[in-house]
Symmetry: C2
C-alpha cells in the first residue's frame, strides 16, 4: 500500500511548502531570523513522522489498491500549507492525520469511495495538492467513524481539446504545470497562475474559487469554467458545455467555491487561450500610498484591463527590494496573443502619472521578474522563518474603493496593536494590491512578527482573529481568493447572508445525506 509516495521521484515536503530539496538549510534559517528581532537562535528541527494511531477502519478490499495507510501518506495529508499547519507539523502534532488516503484513478473510483464512505460514516476530505491555507483539507470533527483523504492527483490528464471553441476537458487532479504542459502543444494556455500554481490542482482551484495571477478581466477560475463534472453522494452532476446560459441559477456557480462540501469535482471543460506573444511591463513609483491607491483606482476604471496592476505599499516595496524610502511601487503589465501592447501600456503609465506617479524609464520586465521570483520563493522563506518561530502569515480581502483607505489604515493600526499586544513587539505589516476591479481592490496583507516557541500557533490565531474582526467591521470579505475552509468560518459566518446559509445547508443535506463531505467547511460545526 504505497499508492502515493514514489521514492524514485523528487520529494514533496510533507510538513512544509513545495519540494523538500528547496527547503532552507538550518544556517539560512538562522541568517534569515536576523530580520526579526527576538527569535530563538536555533531552528526547530525538520520533523520526523512519529507514531500514528492505527487506522480506525479497514479499506474495502475492492478499493484496497487505491488506498494507502502508510505514515508518510497519512502525515502528508494531515494539513494544508498555512503557517499554522507548518508549525503544527514542525511540533510533531499529527493527531488529525487521516486514517486512509485514497488515490482514485477514475471517476468510478470516486463514486465507489463516496459510496463506501457514506455507508460507513467515514468523513471524506477531498484533496488536490494540499495547498489550502485555510484548514480546508484538515478534519477537525469527532462525529465520524474515520477520515479518508481523497487525493485526486492520479487524475491529471487533459482528456480532450476543442480547437474550434478553444476549450479543454481536464481532470481535476492536474497540477498547474502538468496541465499547461499538455495544453502547450496546441499553442494554448489556461492562463491561470495562482501563487500555488506548482502545487495546486484544477479541482482545487475550482472548489475554492481560485484567483489567478492577473489583475483584471478573466483571472478568476470561475470565469474560465465552461462546464463541470461533480460526483455527489446522490449522483454525478454534469453541466452542459455552454458559453453562456440564462437557464436558472448557474449550476456551476453553486459548485464553484463549495470546497468539497457538496461533491467532488472530477473534471471540467475549461476555456483556454492562445499563448500571449506580446508583453510589456513597467513600474511606477509614488511617494504617497494614498495617491498610489487612487492611481490604481483610475487604472481599474479606465477599461484598459492590464494583465498586471500590482501595487506594493512602502513596506512591501522595501521587502521586495523594488523601492525604499517610503515609496510605493506599481507594477503594470499588458499582454496580448494578437497585437502589440505598447500603446496600451503608455496609456496606463499616463494615467498613473496623472495621479502623482513617477514612471521608471527602464526595468519593467526585470522588476516584474524579480517580483515574480521572490513571490514564488516566498513560501520556502516562510517555512525557514517558521522554523525560527517567527510568525509569518498573510491575509487577503477585497472591498469597494470608497472603503479602502480607511480599511488600510485600520489594519495597520488595529492589527498592528494586536501584534504588539500578543507578541510583545510591533512586528511588521506590509500590503500589496493583487487584483483590481472597477468597484474595488483586493488588498493582501503580510504579517511578520516574533513568536514564542511552542506558542506560535496560538499567537497567530489571536492575530488572525483580530484581523478578521477588522475586515468584518469594514465589510471587507474574509477572503478574496484563499477560500473559507475551517479557519475563516468566524468571518464567513458573519458575512454570509443568513438566508443563503439556510439554502446552502439545505443543499448540503440533500446532496450529502450522510454528512461525510468535508465536515466543518462552510457549514455545520467547524
Amino acid at each position: 500500500m504505497t499508492a502515493g509516495v514514489d521514492p524514485t521521484t523528487r520529494q514533496r515536503s510533507w510538513w512544509g511548502w513545495g519540494w523538500s530539496d528547496q527547503a532552507l538549510p538550518d544556517d539560512e534559517c538562522v541568517a534569515l531570523a536576523a530580520l526579526v528581532p527576538g527569535l530563538p537562535d536555533r531552528p526547530l528541527p525538520t520533523p520526523a513522522i512519529g507514531e500514528l494511531a492505527p487506522p480506525r477502519v479497514r479499506p474495502p478490499a475492492s478499493l484496497a489498491d487505491r488506498i494507502s495507510t502508510t505514515p508518510p501518506d497519512r502525515a502528508a495529508h494531515t494539513y494544508g500549507k498555512a503557517y499554522r499547519d507548518v508549525l503544527r507539523a514542525l511540533h510533531g502534532d499529527l493527531t488529525a492525520a487521516p486514517d486512509l488516503v485514497a488515490f482514485p484513478r477514475s471517476e468510478s473510483d470516486v463514486v465507489d469511495l463516496l459510496d463506501w464512505a457514506g455507508r460507513h460514516g467515514v468523513a471524506v476530505v477531498p484533496y488536490g495538492a494540499g495547498s489550502s491555507v485555510v484548514g480546508g483539507v484538515e478534519y477537525r470533527g469527532d462525529g465520524h467513524a474515520a477520515v479518508l483523504s481523497l487525493d485526486l492527483s492520479a487524475m491529471d490528464r487533459v482528456l480532450e481539446v476543442d480547437t474550434v471553441s478553444r476549450a479543454a476537458r481536464i481532470q481535476a487532479g492536474a497540477l498547474g504545470p502538468m496541465l499547461e504542459d499538455q495544453l502547450r502543444p496546441y499553442g494554448y494556455t489556461l492562463r491561470h497562475f495562482p501563487q500555488s500554481f506548482e502545487f495546486s490542482t484544477l479541482g482545487g482551484w475550482l472548489a475554492t474559487r481560485s484567483g489567478g495571477h492577473y489583475a483584471t478581466l478573466y483571472t478568476h477560475i470561475d470565469d474560465l469554467t465552461e462546464s463541470l463534472r461533480v460526483v455527489t453522494p446522490v449522483g454525478v452532476s454534469e453541466s452542459w458545455r455552454l458559453p453562456g446560459s440564462g437557464a436558472g441559477p448557474s449550476p456551476d456557480r453553486l459548485f464553484l467555491g463549495s470546497e468539497g462540501t457538496l461533491g467532488v469535482i472530477t473534471e471540467a471543460w475549461m476555456r483556454v487561450q492562445q499563448r500571449p506573444r506580446h508583453k510589456a511591463s513597467t513600474t511606477v513609483t509614488f511617494t504617497d500610498v494614498t495617491d498610489a491607491m487612487d492611481a490604481v483606482r483610475a487604472v481599474s476604471q479606465a477599461g484598459l484591463y492590464p494583465a498586471n496592476c500590482r501595487l506594493l505599499d512602502p513596506g512591501e516595496a522595501a521587502f521586495s527590494g523594488l523601492a525604499g524610502g517610503g515609496q510605493s511601487v506599481l507594477l503594470l503589465g499588458v499582454e496580448s496573443a494578437d497585437r502589440p501592447v505598447d500603446g496600451r501600456l503608455a496609456e496606463l503609465v499616463d494615467l498613473a502619472r496623472d495621479h502623482g506617479g513617477t514612471a521608471r524609464a527602464h526595468g519593467g520586465d526585470q522588476a516584474a521578474d524579480a517580483w515574480r521570483s521572490s513571490f514564488l520563493r516566498m513560501p520556502y522563506l516562510r517555512d525557514g522563518l517558521a522554523r525560527m518561530s517567527a510568525i509569518v502569515e498573510t491575509f487577503e480581502t477585497a472591498c469597494t474603493w470608497d472603503r479602502v483607505h480607511e480599511l488600510y489604515r485600520a489594519v495597520y493600526a488595529e492589527v498592528g496593536a494586536a501584534i504588539n499586544e500578543i507578541t510583545g513587539s510591533p512586528g511588521v505589516i506590509t500590503c500589496r494590491i493583487t487584483h483590481v476591479y472597477p468597484d474595488g481592490p483586493a488588498p493582501y496583507f503580510t504579517v511578520i512578527a516574533a513568536g514564542r516557541r511552542g506558542r506560535e500557533v496560538a499567537m497567530w490565531d489571536e492575530i488572525k482573529a483580530a484581523a478578521m474582526e477588522v475586515l468584518g467591521r469594514h465589510r471587507a470579505t474574509v477572503t478574496h481568493h484563499h477560500a473559507v475552509g475551517r479557519d475563516h468560518r468566524p468571518g464567513y459566518d458573519r458575512q454570509r447572508p443568513e438566508p443563503f446559509a439556510v439554502a446552502l445547508r439545505a443543499a448540503k443535506a440533500a446532496l450529502d445525506p450522510y454528512g461525510v463531505l468535508n465536515p466543518g467547511v462552510l457549514v455545520g460545526p467547524s
Copy 2:
C-alpha cells in the same frame, strides 16, 4: 382600490407590448399580413376586459391600500408578453388572472405581503414590468388558495450613488429608462439595454439573468451586480458590497436567475459606468453564412471585445432591409468612455475581411440605428401580426462554436419541417447572433408562419416543442437570456444536472417553506 392604473398617464397595453398608443391600427395589421400568405383578412379585435371571477381572498386590512382588485390591474398582470400570452389575451382568456395585485412601496411592505401570503397559502408571483416571454409571471397551478401578483413598480428609485467605487443602489422596480434618468446626472449608465429595456425592471433583469444589448464583455446583468437584497419568507438576505470574493459559493449567483422562486429581490448595488463618449460602427457583408459565422468566431476570440457584433443571417438581413441576395450582414461597433475606438474597429474589420467579408465604406451608424429602431419596433409589429393570426415568435440559445454550424442547419431543417407539418405552409425562419463568447455564440431565431384562427397558441406550442427538442439534442441551452419560467421547463429539466436540481429543490423548500413563491417556475410541477 386603484393602486396600479393611473388614467392620467400614458397607458400601457394590458394585452400586448408597450404603449397602447403604439399598437398598430387595424388597416396596418391587414397590410402587414400581406407578408404572410394564408392569413385571415381581418384582425382579431383588440380585446375588452370581460368579467373576471371575484377574488378568492380578501386582502388584509393593513395592506389594503397597497392592493388592487380592479379588472384592469388583474387583467394586465395575468400574462407576460410572449406570443402565446398576447394571443390568449386577444381571445379573451383571462382565467389565469390573479386574485389580487399588490404594489408595495417599501421592503417592509414586501415582507408583510410574503408573511400574509405564506400564512394563507396564497401563491405570490413577483412581477417587474411583465415582459416575461416564458410564462414567468403567470400562475398555472391549482394548489393555492389564491394568487397575488406582486408588482414592484412603485419601488423605482436610485437610492444612493457611490462615485468613488462607481456603483449605485437601485430599487428593483425601476424600469430601464427610469434608472438611466436617475444615473445620468452623475454621468453614469448601467449600460444594460435588453430589447425589453423600456418595459422591464432591474429586479426582473436580476431574477432572470438578463442579457444586455452588448455582444461581449460585461453585458450580462450577473456581471454588473455588486450585491443584492432579497426578501425571502425566512428572512432578508443582503450580500456585502464586494468587487470580488472567494468566500464560498456566491450568494448572489444563487438568487440571480432564481426567477422569483427563492425570494423577491428588492434592491441591488449595481456597477455603473461612465457614459461612452467614443463610438464607431460599421457593417461587413458575407456571401456565405458559414464564412460569416467563422468570422464572428475569429472576432470573438481575438480579445477585441466589440460592443456590437451582431450577425444577421440572409433571412434576417433581408427582413431588416440591410442586405438582399442571400447576403449575411455583420454589424460591428466599438465604444469607449475614455479613448478613441477607430483603431479597434479597423482591426475588427480586418479580421472579418480575412474571413471573406466585404466591408461597406459608409453607413455603419445608419445601419446600426436602422437595426436598433426596427428592433424596438418589432414587438408592436409582432402584436399586429398576432391579431392577424400569424405565428410570430422567437427562441434563442447558445452553444459552443464546434456545434453551431450543425445546430443552425438542424434548426432550419427540423423546425422548418415542423412548421410545415403543423401549419401546412413552410413559414419563415431567420437567425441572428446576438452575443458572442470566445467559446461560442448565442443564436436567436425568429419564426413567422400562418396560424389558424383559434389554434394559434396550440400551433406555436407544437413548433416550440420541436425547437426545444432540436436545441436539447444539440446540447444548446434552452435559453440564453429569456429565462426558464414555465414554458421552458421541458428543456430546462432535461438540461439541468439532476444533483443541481436536488440542491435547488432543497434550497427552495428551506427558503419558501409554504411553497408560495412563483410555483411551477424552475422547480416543482409546472
